[in-house]
């Protein structure tokens, strides 16, 4: 309806304006992420070497010399937590983007082509969904060997089903629209239609889902590292740090596990808020 169109255009849809005065959660999420990124970029330049051990400095509580305290080997926890920002964010976002690209492509292909291709892709998706992404990543690592790359591949595969489903559902409705046969008559093959028409028209929802997935991926990666899979000590990573620190909690030394956990929480929260805010914006 024409009026619906007018109403839509009267609404401030621009992302910039939305960030200015829109959803509070989205603004908070973007702010948190920006602060994290800034600390991650600048922090390591100002802080001591995260892997430098210091004898006699082990398990010092938070204080003026070591704001977050030190761990069992006397390493500065602030430096380690901050150093881990880069690794965890890059891994989380990288995994989410890879899962988004691969998953959306698979979904678009399955939805557009239908038939046997759709059947195979959907059974594959169902199989993936039967395991939590975390368990799946464990299996991948068990088969391929314990390395960071294979762990990331595992988490990527485990994160794909959502994207496959989202983009397949959209592709199924897009392929019914007349611009698809029009494009066929213009001489496009299936590849041209999938990359030229279906993907651009179905990528919106997966793009938004990517932010939430990045949060989940950080959790999965940390959990795997906690179990000693993927990221190996002494590399500073929130999961490994918690793993190294959690036994100290019993003796009342809470800080080695607390600060990496706090940062992880902030990162996941930021992605979740951004994702929720974006989907609200898209549906408004």
């Amino acid at each position: 309806m024409t009026t619906a169109r007018m109403l839509a255009s009267a609404r401030p849809r621009r992302l910039a304006r939305l960030c200015g005065r829109g959803d509070l959660g989205l603004r908070l999420g973007l702010l948190l992420l920006a602060v994290l990124v800034l600390i991650g970029l600048v922090g390591p330049l100002l802080l001591p070497d995260p892997n430098a051990t210091a004898a006699g400095q082990s398990l010092l509580p938070p204080g003026p010399d070591h704001l977050f305290g030190t761990d069992r080997y006397g390493r500065d926890l602030l430096a380690r937590t901050v150093a881990a920002i880069r690794l965890d964010l890059v891994l989380g976002i990288g995994v989410a983007v890879a899962a988004m690209l691969l998953g959306s492509l698979l979904g678009a292909v399955a939805g557009y082509l239908g038939g046997i291709v759709d059947e195979v892709v959907m059974r594959f998706t169902d199989a993936l969904l039967a395991f939590p992404g975390f368990v799946l990543a464990l299996m991948v690592v068990a088969f391929t060997g314990n390395s960071l790359v294979f762990m990331a591949v595992g988490v990527t595969i485990g994160s794909m089903p959502h994207f496959i489903r989202l983009s397949r559902a959209r592709a199924l409705s897009e392929r019914e629209l007349d611009y698809i046969p029009a494009s066929k008559l213009a001489g496009s093959g299936s590849g041209g239609i999938i990359f030229g028409h279906i993907m651009p028209n179905t990528i919106g929802a997966p793009l938004i889902q990517t932010t939430v997935t990045a949060g989940w991926a950080i959790l999965d990666i940390a959990a795997l590292s906690f179990l000693g899979v993927g990221v190996q000590p002494p590399t500073a990573e929130w999961g490994t740090m918690i793993s190294e620190g959690y036994s100290e909690i019993l003796t009342g030394k809470w800080w080695p596990a607390f600060f990496p956990g706090l940062f992880m929480l902030i990162a996941v929260l930021a992605f979740q808020l951004i994702g929720d805010g974006l989907s609200k914006w898209k549906n408004s």
């Binding site: 309806m1 024409t2 009026t3 619906a4 007018m6 109403l7 009267a10 609404r11």
Partner: protein, 317 residues
């Protein structure tokens, strides 16, 4: 006495301040069928939504009054919709299937309405429902009663919706594009049905449509709407015989069976969409006769006998 009387109604998009409807006046006597005609973007659907209290978020009544059977529709300073008038207005809409509950059998839906709105007992309501279905030309009401909406054709669903509209015995009926989307042969059946049902003269009917041909066969009076502004009002035969407003002339000339004549203006009317923030006449941008005055100021209604024309330059001779 007018059963439906709308005076100078304005609708506005709250956020942008654009007026979707400007000074729309409609008056329908008992026993009369009035056609509200306009192309897409004319605001005709917004008008019926406003009367039903179904305006989308962000659109508000910003001026004017409206009464149905003597009762004001919009109340208070904010002109909010008075839901108490709902049972005085019945609606037959464009998409009959969407108007019916897909999960409930037809008979049950009708009985529910009759029990709620007319306080009937169960058995009485069931008999009345059958009677109504027969009245709208359904020869086997027992089968239709047991059917779900998806088991019925579009034409059948529209008959059921008409039956339900009749069942509430509202003095005013709004038929919003009641046959759009139906096949021509079914459209003719539904139009004839509506015309016969309205022949008893108890109601006031507002027929909202884009189809001039439908109007010419159904309505006593026509209101031509363009860009949310009334262009011309008058008895159907007079308007079709002797259109005065340039827009009305243009519309009639665009009919396929129109016989071209020397003073046709159709080719000189430009194609551009409605600008809802325009101060002057909404048709000015396209009108071959428009002047500065048209762009600056909205035209006032010029009345003569039964006809009204909203144009700076053309009046009824």
């Amino acid at each position: 006495m007018s059963l439906l009387a709308v005076d100078d109604l304005d609708l506005r998009i709250a956020r942008s301040g654009q007026t979707l409807l400007r000074d729309v006046t409609v008056s329908i006597e008992r026993g009369s069928i009035v056609g509200l005609v306009g192309e897409s973007g004319s605001g005709k659907s917004m008008f019926s939504l406003a009367l039903m209290g179904l305006l989308p978020d962000g659109v508000e009544v910003s001026a004017g009054t409206a009464e149905v059977a003597g009762r004001p529709i919009f109340r208070g300073a904010s002109r909010s919709y008075d839901t108490a008038v709902r049972d005085r207005i019945a609606l037959v809409s464009q998409n009959p299937r969407a108007a019916l509950n897909p999960t409930m059998r037809i008979g049950k839906q009708m009985v529910r309405v009759l029990r709620q709105r007319r306080r009937m007992g169960k058995i009485q309501a069931r008999d009345e429902a059958r009677e109504l279905l027969r009245k709208v030309g359904i020869s086997d009401p027992l089968r239709v009663e047991r059917a779900y909406p998806h088991q019925l054709s579009g034409g059948m669903c529209q008959r059921v919706v008409i039956a339900m509209a009749l069942s509430v015995q509202a003095p005013v009926l709004i038929a919003d594009e009641p046959t759009t989307g139906l096949d021509v042969t079914i459209q003719a059946q539904i139009l004839l049905l509506l015309k016969e049902l309205m022949a008893d003269g108890d109601r006031a009917v507002l027929m909202v449509t884009h189809d001039l041909a439908v109007v010419s066969s159904m309505c006593d009076q026509v209101i031509i709407l363009y860009g949310g502004q009334v262009m011309e009002v008058g008895p159907t035969q007079d308007i079709f015989h002797d259109p005065v407003h340039p827009y009305t002339r243009f519309l009639l000339e665009s009919l396929e069976d129109h016989v071209p004549s020397a003073d046709d203006i159709g080719d000189r009317v430009t194609e551009s969409s409605v600008d809802f923030s325009l101060a002057g006449c909404r048709f000015a941008k396209r009108c071959p006769f428009s002047t500065d005055l048209c762009h600056r100021e909205p035209p006032l209604a010029r009345r003569s006998g039964t006809r009204t024309v909203n144009c700076h330059h053309r009046g009824v001779s």
